[in-house]
Symmetry: C2
Subunit: 758 residues, 2 copies
């Protein structure tokens, strides 16, 4: 077991590297040339202009004012200064609530740490350790932990009581936080100005009709079944092919600009390129002409494809965005079942336009169901068996096989230094590459599952990642052995043994996790603030692609909070804190430093850097809450396992109520708050409708909603070309019925529906 | 292990007793005096008149036509003759679908039995049994079972393939059945004539308002939030005290009639009674006068209580039945969330008036949540620890303690015969009494959980009973040992061991279960048709209480299908059939006989006897479906356990896909059909509304709904007294707004809601 000295050394290294990152950040962010890397949010908001205009040439690029360097940590108080309402206004509710998770960590663990050090640390420290045969010399860290308390001691009652106190404190904080986030969400939704998604419902699995097009079918169905509320709708067209063309064209345009820039700099020689793959081989041609021609060709293809999509009725997928006259009407439609066959006419609250994941709108019910089964099985195998292909790759990546496949490497491999480098790095590399790719793999799996909005996809990926971390980081680190070994032993060991095995291992792993927290939590978060990758990419783009201010705007990559990655990582710290709170109090301060530091860093980032791609209104909170409760449950079961091996037969049964209470608390909170995040209550919808009707009675909602839910690649065109096709689409629909509907809405709504549509 | 002879003997005994019951039934049902016991349903329908009027004196009581006795089994074809649509019409969808569960059993198990006997029985029979040391001589039953196949044999592939075939066949039948029941339910709901619950929503947890009564608050809330659809509402008053008084009065009235009858028979002597407990002690008084006075006193108390409830605002509980102008409006309100606080203004589809469980309407959310926690814990203890108090009672019920408490029993106990009788019967008696009381205990637990309709309570009790049966009948019979022993061993044995332990025990228990099926299934069902208890009670009542035809009508007890008891018992047979289908084919014919016989018996009973208390529209089907799937999953896991002990290492892993597929099938069916049973689709509501509007445009819905949801004890009065109080309640509400609402509904719906209510 590691001694205090070992930990001290590790702490010193990590603190130094964290400070190095912070200094690098402090220096880099003050250079005007990096301004767009470290403050992109303000540029996007239009508040901050390019510093290049109004300064001397030198200071356009480098900050020479030495005073500013002295205050290199002044971003910290600045990050904390903005009050929360302003932060919500500035960065959106999603971001503001995301940094609140770090604050929640502080709220939970600060009092727990204080109590733990006041009560448990003395109890553990002063326990008379019975000298045991073959027992290791306990280091000071172990003297503070539960390992120091002899078997069967009455002192375990202190741990049991503290477990209750910690649990109830966590309940209290979680409940208050859930309540506060829920009310913030409601406030946010209520204060929001008019948005298309408030009036719109996404309808999927529209059944095919032999006599009518999807367009007509949707209109008829909603005219009949929501006669007073239906306003208009937009069918969804399959634009995946078009999206690919647009993507290609964009990349070609980048190359064109690159070569044009090159030509401008060296007008003596026209740049050339090759027509083959990656411009590596093929015929050599004039680059500017080649790319210009290619772009023309793609533009033509794009135009043809666009026309095809608009005219071809098979391009219409059986999904539509249906809009209503009022929020009330939309809320009703989103929450009710339309047809007695619950696999058709599925309605759900429409995601906001930016949030729609267009590719998944057309999946039929049975296919969805099978996809979910397959992905569940795949996730199981990914979690428990991912080491098998990696081990296989590792076995390939040794000297002999390399020499076999690539014989020209032979002389190189013979050199000892290179050989040892390959042997040292390659095996680890496969695992590292896998871990870097993992969030992408999980996201692809979520996409296959068929969810329809980016926010939902992120939440699902986060759930998968959380499971993976729980098993492959937490359990694997506590019990040495791969996840597969564990699965095997879990199947072949009694359920009552498992908490014991892990429970015994938990105090031993404390020092490992302390190191982990410092590396991943402290230094990792400090690295985040430097934004090394965006910095490099920005300068590369800036050098080669930027011609105008607009290009520079596009070269800027503000990035965004990656919920699917950051949240599960953060959950690991909650889990560690809860597990070790009653076992090894000495781990807790490290966690507190992590939460405090991350809170400041991410608050700074969301204020100055990140630009969220969508706004879901803190829709992720129930997931965060649930996962903390899972952590709490795990900590309780492990404590029970640990105590039961300590022959504390009196105090262990006293813990049984804790998991039961935790499960109950979960369901209680779920029933109490979750619907705020999934449904739109009619009362709130009605208040908002009424207010709006009073303040703006003549608003033309229909034209406001027209074109709100169009595939983004159509929208681009809309700006470039005349918006004919939208009009055209309107003409597709039942013009006569619509006209008559407008004229005599009231009568038609009352008249019998059986006799005529609308 | 039992031999074929043993089973043959048991079968003979049980078949004889079943035949005895059937003969008793045949004889008893032909006696005119028993007509009201065996054909009460027709009396209630008013189709069958009392046979006493139009016959000779003798044949009033006893059937002397011997011909009718010869055809003593002719009720069987008669029971099967009525086609299903007519049965639904006659007995309701609940009953018709309940007997369909027996038919479902036949549909699943008949082909499985045929296949099993064609494939598995020969495979097992012809397996070359390796003579093992110490092995028991296998009886013929065992030679047909999987026990006969030697370890590591390739023949197990037959069992694996058959397990797949059986699973897919079960999927197919279950899917078709779910589909058919769902469409029957939709048809039933669509064809139903107007019913108050179609327009009504039960609103619970109405928040208190300092300025308004519950009555006003409800009206304002729904006028604002459902302006075009709200029609009227009825508040719920706490009439539990009143219900008790009414109950008491009824019992006293019975006594009064009894003594009046007695006096009429023997006019010479006025009957007397005693005023104390159970008329056993106290002052002797004239019975008729005494009961008449008591009834007067109670009537007065009832009147006072009724007035108190009507005038006292604290008697109004925070729940109401809110009715809407259309089914569409009610469907919308029932399926949506009203307030952003999801613990208030909870709306759900109103149960039909007879189905409402009035006592539970007023429970606040937090209390509900705690009640459910407590009942879950209680159910756990009841299931695993119920033997502890019973063992305690049994230990008290031995000779010595009896003598100690009741010394006068001493000489009696000394007699050997009586002593051995007491020792033989008493210990079993405690368990038997517990098992008889169990459904009642579970029902009380469900009532404590706070569900608001009798149908829901029955479904919840059935769920609890199913769990109890699964653990305390199935598992306890398979593995000898109490549930508590099992819980202990399950906690201390590896999860992979448990299916093995049970798997090995399964073939051994086949003969026990065959006997169980014959006793509980065959003879038990035959006993059901004789209706011994209602027969005795009817004749007692007929002798002492009946004066008029109306009294005789009330003395009749048609009984009803006890879903909470019968369904979980039936599920045990599904479980046995599925578990033994691939293990011991010889058990299957016994199950088929059970299902076929029960189907006939219960079809006869629902046609001629049972009178359902409520109609839920086969709302229970998802539970039935789920439990059969649970049985299927258990059978697959046990087969895996069994095969893994048979060293069939090649074939066992091939079974792993089965439980995964089963879980997927469950979710697929749930998504596909369950909403039919829980929600009312808007399309169907709209069709029904439109039809009704066309056929009956001037129907006064408001007066139709007035008084539909009144506590039944108020309803009694309504008939007796003038219905003033209903009018009065209407006056409580906002008369001016209502009037204006009626006059200018259309304008008010359009006008801004903020400015005025409605």
């Amino acid at each position: 077991m590691a001694t205090v000295q070992d930990i001290g050394l590790s702490a010193a290294i990590n603190i130094l590297s964290a400070i190095a990152f912070l200094v690098a950040f402090a220096v880099l962010r003050l250079q005007p040339i990096n301004d767009r890397v470290y403050f992109p949010k303000w540029y996007l908001k239009g508040i901050r202009g390019s510093p290049a205009h109004n300064r001397a040439f030198m200071s356009k690029f480098i900050n020479v004012d030495l005073n500013t360097y002295l205050r290199f940590l002044n971003w910290m108080p600045a990050a904390l200064r903005m009050p929360e309402p302003e932060l919500i206004e500035h960065a959106g509710l999603d971001s503001a609530m995301f940094v609140r998770i770090y604050l929640l960590g502080l709220k939970i663990f600060f009092p727990i740490t204080v109590l733990s050090f006041m009560v448990l640390a003395p109890v553990n420290w002063t326990a008379e350790t019975v000298p045991r045969i073959g027992a290791l010399r306990l280091s000071s860290i172990d003297k503070l932990s539960i390992s120091n308390v002899p078997h069967g001691s009455k002192r375990f009652w202190a741990h049991v009581i503290m477990a209750y106190v910690f649990t109830f404190w966590t309940f209290r904080v979680l409940y208050n936080e859930y309540k506060s986030v829920a009310s913030k969400r409601l406030q946010f939704l209520a204060s929001e100005s008019r948005r298309p998604d408030q009036f719109t419902v996404l309808v999927r699995n529209i059944p095919p009709d032999p006599d009518e097009s999807v367009n007509e079918h949707v209109e008829h169905f909603f005219c009949v079944n929501h006669p007073d509320h239906y306003l208009t709708h937009q069918v969804v067209r399959n634009a995946n092919q078009l999206a690919k063309l647009v993507e290609n064209k964009k990349s070609l345009q980048n190359w064109l600009i690159y070569y044009q820039n090159k030509y401008e700099k060296y007008p003596s020689k026209r740049p050339t390129t090759k027509t083959g793959f990656c411009s590596l081989w093929g015929k050599t041609v004039d680059a500017i002409n080649y790319y210009a021609a290619e772009i023309d060709r793609l533009s033509e293809e794009e135009r043809v494809e666009r026309e095809r999509i608009l005219s071809d009725s098979t391009a219409v997928v059986p999904a539509a965005f249906v809009s209503f006259r009022s929020r009330w009407g939309a809320a009703v439609c989103a929450q009710t079942q339309q047809s007695s066959n619950s696999t058709i006419w599925l309605t759900e609250w429409a995601p906001e336009p930016r949030d729609v994941y267009w590719n998944n709108l057309a999946i039929p019910y049975i296919s969805l169901s099978i996809r979910r089964l397959l992905m569940a099985v795949a996730l199981f195998f990914l979690t428990f068996f991912f080491m098998i292909p990696i081990t296989f790759v590792q076995s390939l990546a040794n000297m002999d096989s390399i020499v076999k496949v690539l014989p020209f490497m032979k002389p190189l491999v013979k050199k000892k230094l290179i050989a040892s480098f390959i042997q040292g790095v390659l095996p680890g590399l496969a695992l590292k590459i896998f871990l870097i790719l993992l969030p992408t793999i999980l996201m692809i799996m979520s996409k296959i599952e068929g969810f329809t909005s980016h926010s939902f996809l992120e939440r699902r990926s986060a759930g998968k990642y959380h499971l993976f971390m729980l098993i492959n980081v937490f359990l694997v680190s506590v019990i040495a052995g791969t996840a597969l070994d564990q699965l095997h032993s879990f199947l072949n060991q009694p359920p009552s043994e498992i908490p014991k095995i892990i429970g015994i291992a938990v105090p031993r792993s404390a020092t490992f996790f302390i190191t982990y927290i410092m590396v991943d939590g402290w230094a990792g978060v400090a690295a985040e603030i430097v934004r090394l990758v965006p910095l490099v990419i920005f300068h590369l783009k800036n050098t080669f692609l930027v011609k105008t201010e607009k290009d520079r705007e596009q070269a800027m990559d503000p990035g965004c909070l990656q919920f699917a990655i950051s949240e599960p990582r953060m959950q690991l710290y909650f889990l560690l804190g809860l597990v070790y709170s009653a076992v090894t109090p000495v781990l807790l301060p490290f966690i507190i430093v992590f939460f405090a530091f991350s809170y400041m860093v991410y608050r700074h980032q969301i204020i100055n850097v990140y630009d969220q791609k969508y706004e879901s209104g803190a829709r992720f909170w129930p997931d965060v809450h649930r996962r903390i409760i899972i952590g709490l449950g795990i900590s309780q079961i492990l404590l029970m396992g640990l105590l039961s091996t300590k022959e504390a037969s009196q105090s262990t049964p006293a813990l049984i109520a804790l998991p039961v209470l935790t499960i109950w608390f979960h369901f209680f909170c779920k029933g109490r708050f979750e619907s705020v995040f999934t449904k739109f209550p009619l009362q709130d919808a009605m208040i908002k409708d009424t207010l709006e009707k009073a303040t703006d009675p003549n608003f033309d909602l229909k034209s406001y909603l027209r074109g709100a839910y169009i595939h983004p690649d159509f929208k681009v065109t809309e700006l470039e070309q005349s918006p004919e096709w939208i009009e055209e689409e309107d003409d597709h629909s039942l013009v006569p019925t619509k006209r008559s509907q407008k004229g005599s809405k009231r009568e038609s709504a009352e008249s019998s529906i059986g006799s005529s549509y609308c």
